[in-house]
C-alpha cells in the first residue's frame, strides 16, 4: 500500500477519519477559520442561513487589516459592524486596527499549529503551510457556512512535491525561489494541488523566509502548500501554542502526481514583470528600469528579516524615490523599532505605515498615479491591483525593493552590500 501525502493525512484528521486518499470528498471540521475586513459582508450572508449563531466562536478569528486605520467613512462603518458582530457572537480571537495582517498575526498568536486545518476567507491562506498546517482559501458563502456549522466539504487534492537543494546566495531569498517556480511552471502549474516542499534548502531558510514560499503558492493555483516543520518551527510554535497539536509528515512512499526539483544555489534575484506573478525574468534583464515608488510590506515580505534586509541596503544612503514600509504586524513593528531597523529606514527617507495590508490591493497608503511604476515586495501584480490600471507593478524581494528605492530604478542589491 502506498504511503500518504501530507494533504491526505491532514484532511483525514480534520474529517475525523482513519484514512483518506486524493480525490475523496470529506466534511472537515477546521481547527480555526478566519476572515478580515470582509467579515461584515460574510455576516450578511450568514443572516440568510437562519443559523441561531456562530457554532464555535472559540475557533473563529477576525483581523482588521485590509484598510486600516479606516480611510473613509464607509470603511469605518464596515469596521464598526464587524466589532459589533464580534461582541454579539463572543468571537474569541479579534485583532484590532494596527495589530497586523491576518496571516502574520494568526501565526504569531499560536492560533495555527502543525498538523491542523485552517480555512480563511482569503486566497493566501496557503500561507500556513510554513507551520506544517493545511491552509486553504474559501469564498464568503463558505465562511458563512463555517460560522454556522463549523464544517465544510473539501476534496483531498493530489500532491506535487517540490524538492529544493542548495543555499541561496546573499541577496537571494525565498521570494526568488517562489518567483522562479512560477516562471518555470506557470500560474496554473499547481492547480488543485497540495504543493509539498522538501529538500535541504528548507532548513537553511529562516522562519521569516519560510512563510514566503507557501504564501506565494496561491499564485500557482495551489489549494494548499506545506513545509515539513523542523525543530525551529516547533520551538516557535511551543512558545505560543494555546492547545495541544500533533505535527504531520508525508510518508516516504507517498504518491505525488508531479515531482519537481530546483537547485537554488545559482539563482539570481528574480523580478515578476507587470501583469502576472508568473511573468518572471532574472533581475539582470530589467535592471535600470525606472520606478517612481518602492513598497516594502505585505503578508509575503513584511517581516522583521525583510525590514532588516532593507535597512542593510539603505544604512548611510538616501532613497531617490519614495519608499513606503509597512510592517506585517505590531510585533514586527515593535521588534524593528527596538533593534534600530526602523530608525535606519526613516533616516534613509522611508515613510512608515500602520501594520496591515497597506496599498497591496489598492485601498490606501501608497496608491500610485497612472503611469507611475512601483517595485513591490507583495505577491500580486495584476493590472489595477494597486488601484489604477495604468500603474505597472514589478514584484521582487526586499533587498531588491530597497536597492531600487536607493537607485530610483530597478537595481541589484548585491552592488549595495559590503
Amino acid at each position: 500500500m502506498a504511503g500518504r501525502t501530507f494533504a491526505e493525512k491532514a484532511l483525514a484528521r480534520a474529517a475525523g477519519l482513519p484514512d483518506a486518499r486524493a480525490g475523496d470528498i470529506l466534511d472537515v471540521t477546521p481547527d480555526l477559520v478566519f476572515s478580515h475586513d470582509n467579515s461584515a459582508a460574510i455576516r450578511r450572508i450568514f443572516a440568510q442561513t437562519g443559523a441561531p449563531g456562530v457554532r464555535f466562536p472559540d475557533r473563529v478569528a477576525i483581523t482588521l487589516d485590509h484598510a486600516v486605520p479606516a480611510p473613509t467613512t464607509r470603511h469605518a462603518e464596515n469596521h464598526a459592524a464587524i466589532r459589533e458582530w464580534v461582541r454579539a457572537q463572543g468571537i474569541a480571537h479579534f485583532f484590532e486596527v494596527g495589530r497586523g495582517i491576518c496571516h502574520q498575526v494568526i501565526g504569531e498568536e499560536g492560533l495555527a499549529l502543525p498538523g491542523e486545518t485552517i480555512l480563511g476567507a482569503d486566497s493566501h491562506t496557503t500561507h500556513f503551510g510554513w507551520l506544517g498546517a493545511f491552509g486553504a482559501g474559501v469564498g464568503r458563502s463558505e465562511m458563512a457556512a463555517l460560522w454556522a456549522t463549523g464544517e465544510l466539504w473539501l476534496r483531498v487534492p493530489e500532491a506535487m512535491r517540490i524538492t529544493l537543494s542548495g543555499v541561496p546566495a546573499p541577496g537571494v531569498t525565498a521570494k526568488d525561489i517562489s518567483l522562479r517556480i512560477l516562471g518555470d511552471l506557470r500560474a496554473d502549474g499547481g492547480l488543485y494541488r497540495s504543493v509539498e516542499f522538501a529538500g535541504d534548502t528548507l532548513g537553511a531558510l529562516s522562519l521569516d523566509a519560510r512563510a514566503t514560499l507557501p504564501n506565494m503558492m496561491a499564485e500557482f493555483g495551489a489549494k494548499n502548500a506545506y513545509l515539513p516543520p523542523d525543530r525551529a518551527v516547533l520551538d516557535y510554535v511551543d512558545a505560543r501554542a494555546r492547545r495541544p497539536y500533533t505535527p504531520l509528515y508525508p510518508d516516504d512512499d507517498a504518491e505525488y502526481a508531479v515531482e519537481v526539483a530546483l537547485d537554488v544555489a545559482a539563482l539570481e534575484p528574480q523580478i515578476a514583470l507587470p501583469g502576472s506573478p508568473a511573468n518572471v525574468v532574472p533581475l539582470s534583464e530589467v535592471a535600470g528600469q525606472p520606478v517612481q515608488q518602492a513598497f516594502l510590506g505585505t503578508c509575503t515580505n513584511g517581516r522583521l528579516e525583510d525590514l532588516r534586509a532593507a535597512a542593510d541596503v539603505l544604512r548611510g544612503r538616501r532613497v531617490r524615490v519614495r519608499l513606503i514600509v509597512i510592517p506585517a504586524s505590531a510585533a514586527v513593528f515593535e521588534a524593528a523599532a527596538t533593534d534600530g531597523t526602523l530608525a535606519a529606514l526613516v533616516a534613509a527617507g522611508a515613510a512608515i505605515g500602520t501594520p496591515g495590508c497597506g496599498p497591496c490591493m489598492g485601498n490606501h497608503l501608497g496608491i500610485p498615479a497612472p503611469d507611475e511604476a512601483t517595485i513591490s515586495s507583495a505577491n500580486r501584480n495584476f493590472r489595477g491591483r494597486m488601484g489604477t490600471p495604468d500603474a505597472p507593478i514589478y514584484l521582487a524581494n526586499p533587498w531588491v525593493v530597497a536597492a531600487s528605492a536607493a537607485a530610483g530604478q530597478i537595481a541589484d542589491p548585491r552592488e549595495f552590500l559590503p
Partner: protein, 168 residues
C-alpha cells in the same frame, strides 16, 4: 424522459473572473437582474443581450481563474445558465458553482465538438450529455456535494437545515 435541450455559448481557455463579472461592480451591484446584465461583459457583450434561460456555457481549460469573486458564478446563474461545461475549472470557481447551485461539468473534449448556437441534450438524472452525435457521461459528484446542488446551493441548504432544527 428527463433530458432537456440547451443552446451553447462557446468560449476558450483561461477565461478569468474579471471578464466574467468585472471587479468594478463587485461592491455596488447585488440585484440578480443587474448581475445578469453584466455577465461576460468584457468577453462577449452579445451574451447578456441574447442569453435565454436554459442556455449553457461550453469552455476550455481553467474556466474561472483569478479572483475568487462569487458574482462570477451568480451573474451566469441570474442569466438562467443551469450548467457550465469546461475542460477544467479553477478550484475556487468550481466550489462557487456547487455552492450557488449551478452544475459544473468537467469534460475535456466537448469544447472542440460544439459551436456557438449548437443545441445539446442534457439528462441530469441519467448523468448524460448528448452532443455532436456522441454521448458523454457527466462525472458523478460525491453524495454530499450532490446534496448541496440539489438543495439549490450551500446557503439554501443551510436555511432548510436550520428551519428544520427550529421546527417542533
Amino acid at each position: 424522459m428527463t433530458a432537456t435541450l440547451h443552446r451553447c455559448w462557446v468560449y476558450g481557455d483561461d477565461v478569468n473572473t474579471d471578464v466574467i463579472f468585472p471587479g468594478k461592480y463587485t461592491y455596488t451591484i447585488t440585484d440578480p437582474a443587474e448581475l445578469a446584465a453584466h455577465a461576460l461583459e468584457d468577453l462577449d457583450p452579445a451574451f447578456a443581450e441574447q442569453v435565454r434561460p436554459g442556455d449553457v456555457i461550453v469552455a476550455g481549460r481553467n474556466w474561472g481563474c483569478g479572483s475568487s469573486r462569487e458574482q462570477a458564478v451568480g451573474a451566469l446563474k441570474a442569466a438562467g445558465v443551469p450548467v457550465i461545461i469546461a475542460a477544467s475549472f479553477s478550484r475556487i470557481y468550481f466550489r462557487n458553482c456547487i455552492n450557488q447551485g449551478l452544475l459544473p461539468v468537467a469534460l475535456p473534449t466537448l469544447r472542440d465538438l460544439v459551436r456557438a448556437g449548437d443545441t445539446i441534450q442534457i439528462d441530469r438524472a441519467a448523468g448524460q450529455i448528448v452532443a455532436a452525435g456522441r454521448t458523454f457521461a457527466i462525472p458523478p459528484l460525491s453524495p454530499s456535494v450532490q446534496a448541496i446542488l440539489d438543495a439549490g446551493g450551500l446557503i439554501p441548504m443551510l436555511r432548510a437545515r436550520f428551519a428544520g432544527e427550529r421546527a417542533p
